[in-house]
Amino acid sequence: MKLVVLAGTPGAGKTSVLLHTIKSLISDDKKPAVVKVDCLWTDDDRRFKKFDIPVHVGLAKDMCPDHFTIYNTEEMMNWADEKGADILLNETAGLCLRCAPYPDSCLAICVIDVTTGPNTPLKVGPLLTTADIVVMTKSDLVSQAEREVFRERVLEVNPGCKIVEANGLTGKGSFELADIISKWPDVGDDMVLRYSPPLAICSLCTGENRVARKHHMGVLRNLDGFMEYKGE
C-alpha cells in the first residue's frame, strides 16, 4: 500500500488538485482510495464520489485535526486495504502549522497557494519544510517572475523538495503528480513521524475556558517568549 499525505493551507486547492490527480491515476489503472479529514464539516466527499472510488470522511471535532490524522493513520490504511485499494490518498485539514502529519515512508505533498505571496513559504513551517513534493497552485494568477521568486523561497526552506506547478481548474500538473505517486514505494511497518509534535500541553487543551492567567496550568509560553511549566 502506498500512502500519500496531502497537506496545505486552507483554500490552497488541495481537493481540486487531488481530483485531477485521481483522474490520472484511474486512467493509469491504479486503485486509489481517499480519506478526507476536516475539522467540523466537509462536503468534499461528494466531489470525490463522482469517481466511483472508496471515499471516507473523518471529522476531528474536539481533537486537533493533525493529531486526529496521525492517530487514525493505521485505521485508514486497514480500511483502504479492505476496499481493495493500492494507494491511500489522505487529505488533511492542516490548520495550525505547528505539526506536520507526515510519516517517514509516505509521500508527503504540501499544497501552497502562490497568491499568498513569497513570504508565505517562510511561515508555513514543517508542513512545507518536511514535504517531498511542494505543489504550487494558482500560478496562473501571478506573473512568471513572481512564480519564480516564490519557487526560490520554497527551495530556501526545503532545498530537497520537488516542485510541481498545478492548476486546480485546468488540471495542469496532475499527470506529473500521478506519475510521482505511482513510482513511490509502499510504506513500511512501524512508521515514525518526520517532525515531532509540540510538547506544550496546557489547561486550555483540557477544556478550561476562563481567560484570566491565574486559571492556567501546563507548559506555557509568555508573549515575551519565556516558556515555563506551571502546576502541580
Binding site: G117, V142, A145, E146, V149, E152, R153, I163, T170, S174
Partner: protein, 256 residues
C-alpha cells in the same frame, strides 16, 4: 549549462475540450518569427500558451507535444528556471508580493542564476515603457497596472532573456505596446502572442485560430493585412500621444 541555440519550436496537435483530435496537427515556428493566437474568450488560448511554457509532452490535459529544434526537450530544462528556455508575460497586471521593487528583482535574478546588480537596468528599461516613473524603493503592490506591466516586460528582456517569449494580452496595459513587443522579441527570438488587438495580431506573420480548446486554423498575414497594420499603427501612436498629453495635464490641440 550551455544550451544549443533554439532555431525552431514545434507544436504537435492534441485534442479539443471534447477529446476529439484538433484539426491543426502541426505548427512549426522558427527563430525571429512572431506568431499570434486568436479566438474567443475561454476558447483555450492561454491553455496553448501554458502547454508551450511547460514544454508539454502529451502529459497535459490537451495531449499536445512541444518539440524544440524538432526534438523532445530534455526533462531537466522543463522545471529548473535557471535553464528555462521560455519567458512568459502573463495577463496578470498586478504583483501580489509584499516586497520592494529592488528586493523582488534581486531575488528574481538570483532564482535565474543572474547577477543581482541587473535590477537597476530593469528599472531603467521599464521606465522607457511607461509614463509614470518606477523607483527601486517602491512597493510592488503599490505599482499601477501600466508600471507593473512595464516592469514585467523589462524583467523578461533582461533577467529571463529566454529564446522563446510568450505574451498573453499585452494590449490591456497602458504601455507602449509596439516598443514592448520589439523589446521582448529582441534578435532572433521565437515570439508567441495571444491577442485581440489588431495591431499586434497583424504584426505577426501568422496566427493560430483557437476554438473549443482546439487549433482550428492557421492564417498567414496577407499583404493587405500588413498595409492595414501600418495604418492602424499610426492611429494607435496618435492615441498614445493624446493619452500622454492628457496625463501631463496639457490641452489637446491636434487637428483631426
Amino acid at each position: 549549462m550551455t544550451i544549443n541555440p533554439i532555431s525552431s519550436l514545434t507544436i504537435m496537435g492534441g485534442v479539443d475540450k471534447d477529446g476529439k483530435d484538433e484539426p491543426v496537427r502541426y505548427v512549426e515556428i522558427v527563430a525571429g518569427e512572431i506568431v499570434g493566437i486568436v479566438g474567443p474568450t475561454g476558447s483555450g488560448k492561454s491553455t496553448l500558451i501554458d502547454d508551450i511554457e511547460q514544454l508539454a509532452q502529451a502529459d497535459t490535459p490537451t495531449g499536445r507535444t512541444i518539440l524544440l529544434n524538432g526534438q523532445r526537450p530534455d526533462e531537466s530544462i522543463r522545471a529548473d528556471p535557471r535553464r528555462k528556455l521560455v519567458a512568459q508575460l502573463s495577463q496578470k497586471m498586478h504583483f501580489l508580493a509584499d516586497m520592494t521593487v529592488e528586493e523582488f528583482l534581486c531575488m528574481h535574478a538570483r532564482s535565474r542564476g543572474k547577477d543581482e546588480s541587473l535590477f537597476s537596468k530593469i528599472v531603467e528599461l521599464g521606465n522607457t515603457l511607461t509614463g509614470e516613473p518606477i523607483y527601486p524603493k517602491d512597493h510592488l503592490t503599490s505599482l499601477s497596472g501600466g508600471q507593473s506591466r512595464a516592469l514585467m516586460t523589462a524583467d523578461i528582456a533582461v533577467i529571463s532573456d529566454s529564446p522563446v517569449v510568450l505574451i498573453d494580452e499585452v494590449e490591456n496595459a497602458g504601455i507602449k505596446k509596439q516598443e514592448a513587443l520589439k523589446l521582448l522579441a529582441g534578435e532572433g527570438k521565437i515570439v508567441v502572442v495571444v491577442t485581440h488587438d489588431p495591431v499586434l495580431a497583424l504584426m505577426s506573420s501568422r496566427r493560430i485560430v483557437i476554438r473549443n480548446g482546439a487549433m482550428v486554423n492557421l492564417i498567414d498575414t496577407s499583404h493587405q493585412e500588413q498595409e492595414i497594420c501600418t495604418k492602424i499603427t499610426n492611429v494607435d501612436n496618435w492615441m498614445l500621444s493624446l493619452r500622454e498629453t492628457i496625463r501631463r495635464g496639457d490641452i489637446v490641440e491636434d487637428k483631426i
